[in-house]
C-alpha cells in the first residue's frame, strides 16, 4: 500500500488547516489570507495528483486505510479513507477547479472588506468536499457532507448584511437538511443491517458482497433513504428550490457550489454507494434505480424549461446546473455510472468556467445581473466572451471539440440501452435541445445586439480573473481527449477496464443525433432571440411587474406564450406552493405546539393546582363551617346540660325527699307488676 493512502487525510486537511489559520488572522491581513488559501489549495492539488498516480498502475485499483474512531461499549466504530479511481478523479477535479476559483476570487473579491473571512470559508468548503470524496465510511462521508452544508450556508450568506442573502442561506441549510434526515435514517438502517458503515473493508464492508447479503431486501430502502440526501444536496426535484436562491452568495461561491463542491456531492454519493442501488438488479433495473431515473428526468426537464424564463445571468446558470445534475442522476440510474461521473467532472470544469465568466461579466457591468440590461459585450470583453462561448458550447454538448459533447453522448447511449423504459431517453434528447436553446438565448442577450444600460464603461476584467477563465476553457476542450469513443480512457479508468484505442469507433450514430439536436437548439435560439438582442433601450420592466404593454421589450417567448412564460418565469410557482403548504403547515404546527404547551398542558397542571387549592378551600370551610361549628355546638350543649343539672342540685332537702318518695313508689309499682 502506498504511503499516499495512509496519509490521504492530508488532502482535505490542507485547506481545512488553511481555513483555521486564516480565521485567526486579523481582518486587515488580506493578501496573507488569499495567499494562504491558495497555498492550501495548491497543496491539496499536488497531493491529489500524487494520489492519482498509483490509481493508474492497474485497472480497478482500490486501496483503503481503516482505523477505529472511538469505542463505545464493546463496539469499535471504524472509519477510514479509500483511494480508487472514483475518488482520485474527483480529487483532481475538485482541487483543480477549486484552485481556479480561488485565484479568480482574489481578483473578484478584492474590494470586499471581509476578504479574510471569505477565504477562510472558501478553504473550509473545499476541504470539506475533498473529505467527502476520500471517505471510506458512510459516517465519515456524512460528517464531511454536513460540513459542506455548513460551508455553503456560511458562503451563501456571506454578504450577511443583505437580508436576502441571509434568507437564501437559511433556505439552503434547511432544505438540504430535509434530505439529510432521510440520509441519516438510511445510515442508521445500513449500520443496523450490515453491522458496519465502512464501504470497503477486505470483504466485510457494507458495499461488498457479505455486507449487501446481510442487508438483503432492505437494501432498496436504504438506497432510497440515502438518495434523499443526494436529492437535497444535488438540487433534485422537489428539493431543488434552494439552488437558484443560492445565487445570493458572491459569484465565486456560486461557481464553487455549482461546479466543484456541494452539488457534486450528491451525484458522487450515489456513485459511491452504487452497489446498494444495484443490489439484486434484474437487467440493471431495481426499484431504487427507477426512482433515481424518474427524479433525474423530472429535474432535468423542469429546470431547463425554467431556465428559459429567467433574466438573471446567474439564475439561468443555476437552473442549467439543476438540469445537468438531473441528467447525471438519469445516467447513474440507467447504469451509466462512469458516464454520469464523466459528465460530473466535465461539468465541474465548464460550469466553473461559465460562472466565473458570468462573474467577470457582472464585475464588468458594475454588479448588474439582469441580462436585458447587458448586450453587445462581445467586443468590450473579448476574453470573457470567447471563454464564455466555449463554456456555452460545452454545456450545450456540441460534439467533437468540447468535453460536454462527449460525456452527454455517452449518457444518451446509456439511456438508450436502459431496459425499463425508453421515455427517459427521448426526454433527455429533448433536454439537449432545450439546453442549447436557453444557452443561446443567454449568449445573445449578453454578448450580441446593441449595448444597453449596464454596458456603459465596461472593460475587460484583470488578468487574475481572466487567467482562470482561460485555464478552465482549455480544460473544457482538452478534457475531450480522454473521453472520445475512440479512446475511452476515463470511462475505462472509472470502470476498471483496460482502455483501447480504435479510431474507427470515433464516429458513432449517436454523434450525429447529438449534433442535429444541438444544431436545432442553437438555430432555434437564433431564430427566436436574434431580434431580442436588439432591445432598444435599457429600460426594462421589473421582473414579474405590470408594465406589459411594451411588446418591444418583451422576451420573444413571453410575446408568443405569455401564460407559459410567466409559469416559467415564476419557477412554476414551486416556492409559493411550498410557502403556502409545507412551510405554512410546519409553522402552524410550531404555534399549535406552543399554544398547547401554554394552555393545555400547563392548563392541566394549573388545573391540578387549582384542584388542590379548591380542596384546601373546601377543607378550610369544612373546618370552619362544620367541624368548628359542631365543636362549638357540643360545647354549648354541654354548658346547657350543666345548667339544667345544676338547677336540680338546688340544695333543698324537701325536693330531694320528694324525689326519693317518687322513686320508691315507682320501684314498688314495677315490682308488683313484674311479680
Amino acid at each position: 500500500m502506498s504511503w499516499i493512502v495512509t496519509s490521504l487525510w492530508l488532502i482535505p486537511a490542507a485547506p481545512l488547516a488553511a481555513s483555521l489559520i486564516i480565521l485567526s488572522l486579523a481582518n486587515s491581513r488580506r493578501s496573507a489570507a488569499a495567499a494562504l488559501a491558495i497555498i492550501g489549495q495548491i497543496a491539496a492539488l499536488t497531493l491529489s495528483i500524487l494520489a492519482f498516480l498509483p490509481t493508474l498502475q492497474a485497472p480497478g485499483y482500490r486501496s483503503v486505510h481503516n482505523f477505529t474512531w472511538f469505542t463505545f461499549g464493546e463496539q469499535a466504530l471504524r472509519i477510514g479513507w479509500v483511494l480508487d479511481s472514483l475518488a482520485a478523479a474527483m480529487l483532481v477535479m475538485i482541487a483543480l477547479v477549486g484552485l481556479c476559483i480561488f485565484v479568480f476570487s482574489a481578483g473578484y473579491m478584492a474590494d470586499d472588506k471581509n476578504l479574510t473571512r471569505f477565504f477562510a470559508y472558501l478553504s473550509f468548503f473545499s476541504g470539506a468536499m475533498l473529505g467527502v470524496v476520500i471517505a471510506n465510511s458512510l459516517l465519515l462521508l456524512f460528517v464531511f457532507w454536513e460540513l459542506v452544508g455548513l460551508a455553503s450556508y456560511l458562503l451563501i450568506g456571506f454578504w450577511i448584511h443583505k437580508p436576502s442573502a441571509a434568507a437564501a442561506a437559511k433556505k439552503a441549510f434547511i432544505t438540504t437538511r430535509i434530505g439529510d434526515l432521510g440520509f441519516f435514517v438510511g445510515i442508521l438502517w445500513l449500520y443496523g443491517g450490515s453491522g458496519t458503515l465502512l464501504f470497503y473493508d477486505g470483504g466485510k464492508g457494507c458495499l461488498e458482497t457479505a455486507g449487501l447479503l446481510g442487508l438483503g431486501a432492505s437494501a432498496t430502502f436504504v438506497a432510497l433513504l440515502i438518495f434523499c440526501g443526494a436529492v437535497g444536496k444535488s438540487g433534485q426535484f422537489p428539493l431543488h428550490i434552494w439552488l437558484p436562491d443560492a445565487m445570493e452568495g458572491p459569484t465565486p461561491v456560486s461557481a464553487l457550489v455549482h461546479a466543484a463542491t456541494m452539488v457534486a456531492a450528491g451525484v458522487f454519493l450515489v456513485a459511491r454507494v452504487y452497489p446498494l442501488f444495484s443490489f439484486g438488479a434484474i437487467d440493471g433495473v431495481t426499484p431504487s434505480l427507477v426512482v433515481v431515473v424518474s427524479i433525474g428526468t423530472i429535474t432535468a426537464l423542469m429546470a431547463s424549461l425554467i431556465a428559459l424564463g429567467q433574466f438573471d445571468i446567474k439564475r439561468i446558470l443555476a437552473y442549467s446546473t439543476v438540469s445537468q445534475l438531473g441528467l447525471m442522476m438519469v445516467s447513474l440510474g440507467v447504469g451509466g455510472v462512469a458516464a454520469g461521473m464523466m459528465h460530473l467532472i466535465a461539468h465541474g470544469f465548464f460550469k466553473a468556467l461559465l460562472f466565473l465568466g458570468a462573474g467577470s461579466v457582472i464585475h464588468g457591468c458594475h454588479h448588474e445581473q439582469d441580462i436585458r440590461k447587458m448586450g453587445g459585450l462581445r467586443s468590450l470583453m473579448p476574453i470573457s466572451f470567447l471563454t464564455y462561448a466555449i463554456g456555452m458550447m460545452t454545456l450545450s454538448g456540441v460534439p467533437f471539440f468540447f468535453s460536454g459533447g462527449w460525456t452527454k453522448e455517452e449518457i444518451l447511449h446509456a439511456t438508450a440501452h436502459w431496459h425499463a423504459s425508453h421515455i427517459p431517453h427521448y426526454l433527455m434528447l429533448a433536454g439537449v435541445v432545450l439546453t442549447a436553446l436557453y444557452m443561446t438565448r443567454q449568449m445573445i442577450y449578453i454578448f450580441f445586439g446593441n449595448r444597453r444600460a449596464a454596458s456603459e464603461n465596461v472593460h475587460e476584467s484583470p488578468p487574475i480573473m481572466t487567467l482562470p477563465l482561460i485555464v478552465l476553457a482549455i480544460c473544457s476542450i482538452a478534457f475531450s481527449v480522454v473521453l472520445t469513443p475512440a479512446w475511452r480512457w476515463l470511462h475505462s479508468y472509472l470502470t476498471g477496464e483496460p482502455a483501447h484505442f480504435d479510431i474507427a469507433l470515433l464516429v458513432q450514430p449517436m454523434l450525429f443525433v447529438s449534433l442535429a439536436l444541438v444544431a436545432v437548439g442553437i438555430g432555434l435560439g437564433f431564430v427566436m432571440y436574434g431580434k431580442a438582442g436588439q432591445l432598444a433601450t435599457g429600460r426594462v420592466r421589473p421582473t414579474g411587474g405590470q408594465n406589459r404593454h411594451r411588446t418591444a421589450e418583451m422576451d420573444p417567448l413571453e410575446r408568443a406564450q405569455p401564460a407559459l412564460f410567466h409559469f416559467l418565469e415564476n419557477k412554476m410557482w414551486l416556492d409559493e406552493i411550498y410557502d403556502r403548504t409545507v412551510v405554512a403547515w410546519s409553522r402552524m404546527a410550531a404555534h399549535v405546539s406552543d399554544w398547547m404547551d401554554r394552555h393545555f398542558w400547563d392548563g392541566l397542571v394549573r388545573g391540578f393546582a387549582g384542584l388542590g387549592q379548591l380542596f384546601g378551600i373546601f377543607s378550610a370551610n369544612f373546618d370552619e363551617r362544620w367541624i368548628n361549628v359542631r365543636v362549638d355546638e357540643t360545647m354549648t350543649g354541654t354548658r346547657r346540660l350543666g345548667r339544667v343539672m345544676s338547677a336540680w342540685h338546688s340544695g333543698q332537702i324537701q325536693t330531694y325527699l320528694g324525689m326519693l318518695a317518687v322513686g320508691m313508689l315507682a320501684l314498688l309499682i314495677l315490682y308488683a307488676w313484674l311479680a
Binding site: 448584511h161 437538511r177 430535509i178 441519516f184 442508521l188 443496523g192 405546539s593 398542558w601 397542571v605 393546582a609
Partner: protein
Amino acid sequence: MAGMITALILIPLFGAFAVCVWPHTNARPIALIFNAITATLVFMLWRNFDATATGLQMVERHVWIPAIGAEYLVGIDGLSLLLVLLTSIIIPFAFLVQRMDRGFCALMLVTQSALYGTFTAQNFVLWFLFYEMSLIPAFLLIKIWGGENRDRAATKFFLYTFLGSVAMLLSFLGIYFAKGTFDFAQLAGLGKQGLLSGNVAWLAFAGIFLGLAVKVPLFPFHTWLPDAYETAPVGVSMVLTGVLSKMGVYGFVRLLLPLFPNEIKILAPWLLGLAVCSIVFASLAAWAQSDLKRMVAYLSINHLGYCMLGLFVITATTVRPAVEMQAALSGVFMQIFNHGITAAALFYYVGLLEQRRGLRGINDFGGLMQRTPLLCGWMSVAMFSSLGLPGLNGFIGEFLIFKGSFAIAASFTAVAVIGLLVTAIVFARAMQALFSGPLTESCSAFPDLGRTEKVVVVPVTLLMLAIGLAPQFVFNIINTTVIQMTRLLS
C-alpha cells in the same frame, strides 16, 4: 484516596460558609477559589479512576442510621464520574457570568455540594437527602434573584418538583418495607426477578416515574421548565439545564431502569411515545418562541427527550442485541455530558446578549455580525453543536442514541428524527434574526467579547470540538459502566 468524595461534597459547603463570613465584596472570588479546589480534586479523582474496573470505586461506607439500614455510602462509577466532571465544569462558568452578591454565591455553592452528593451517593436515603438539598437553593435563587414573574415561576418549580419527590419517597418506603434495603446495588440485583408484585409494583413504579419525569422533564410533565429557566438568572439557568436536569436522567439510569425493567417493557410503547413527544413538540414549541431564553429552554426539553428515547429502548422489547443497547446507553451518557456543556453555553451567550441589550427577544437584535463578529462566531459554534452538526460534540451522542434506538424501535426513532430538522430550523431562524441583516440602531454600541468572556468561551468551545472530533477520552470513562449496565439489563 479514601475520603476524596466526602471532601468533594464538603468543600463547597465550607465555601458557602466562607462566603458568608468574609466581607461581601469578595464573594465571587472566594467562590471561584473553592471551585478551583474542587476542580483539582475532581481532576485527581479522574486520574485515579480505573477505567477498566467494574463496579463502584473509591467507596466510603459508614454506619449512619442503622435502625433503617441507611448507610453513608458514596462511590463512583463511570456515570457518576462523568456527572461529577460535568458539575465541576459548569458551575465555575456559571459564576463567571455576572456579578453576584454574597447570598447568591453561597446558595450556588450549596447547590454544588448537593450535586456532588447526588451523583455519588449509592444509597437511597442519602441520595434523596442530596436530591432535595439541591432543590431548596435553586428555589431561593429563582425566587430572590429571578426576573419577571419570579414568585410564580419559583413556586411552580418548587411545588411541581417537590410533589414528584414526595411520590418517589413514598414509593421507596414501600420498596423498603418489602425488601428491607436502600442500597442501590442490592436493589438493582433484585430488579430482574421483579422487585415487587401486583399493584404495589405499579404504584411504586408510578411514584418513582413521576418524580423523575418531572425532574428531567419528560413530556407532558415539563411545563414548569420554560417558566423557571426563563425567569432564573443566567447563571442559575446554566446550572439548572447543565446539571440539575441531569439528576432526573441519572435517576432514570440508576433507579428506574434496574428496578422496574418489566414494568417499563410493558409500558414501552407509551414511554417511547412520550419521549418522541418530548423531542418533536418541544422543538416545535421552541420554533414559536420569541424569547431567546425560552427558546433555549424548550430545546433543552428536546435534547433530554433524546436521552429518554435512548433509555426507554434499552428495556423496550424482548429482542435487544447487546450492541444496540450499548450504543443507546453510550449515546445517552454522551448526550448527558454534551447537552450539559452546550445548553449551558447557549444560556451563557443569551446572557451576554441580554447584558448588552437589556432585552432578550429574538427581534430585539439584528445585524450583530457586523458589530460583534467574535461573539457571533463563537455563539454559532454552540448553536451548531446543539443542532447536532457532525464534528462537534452534540452529534456523537445523538448518533449513538439514534443508532441504538433505530435498531430496537425503528418507527419511534423515524418520527424522532423530525426533531433534528426542527432544531436546525430553530437555530437557522435565530441566527438569521440575530446576526444578519442591517445592524439595528439599538445594537450599534455593543462591545465584542471581553477578556473574562473569552476565558469562558474559548475552553468551552475547544471542549465541544475535542469531543466532536476525538471523543474517546469521554468514552474511556463510561465504557465499562455501559457494558456492566447492559449486562444487568439484558
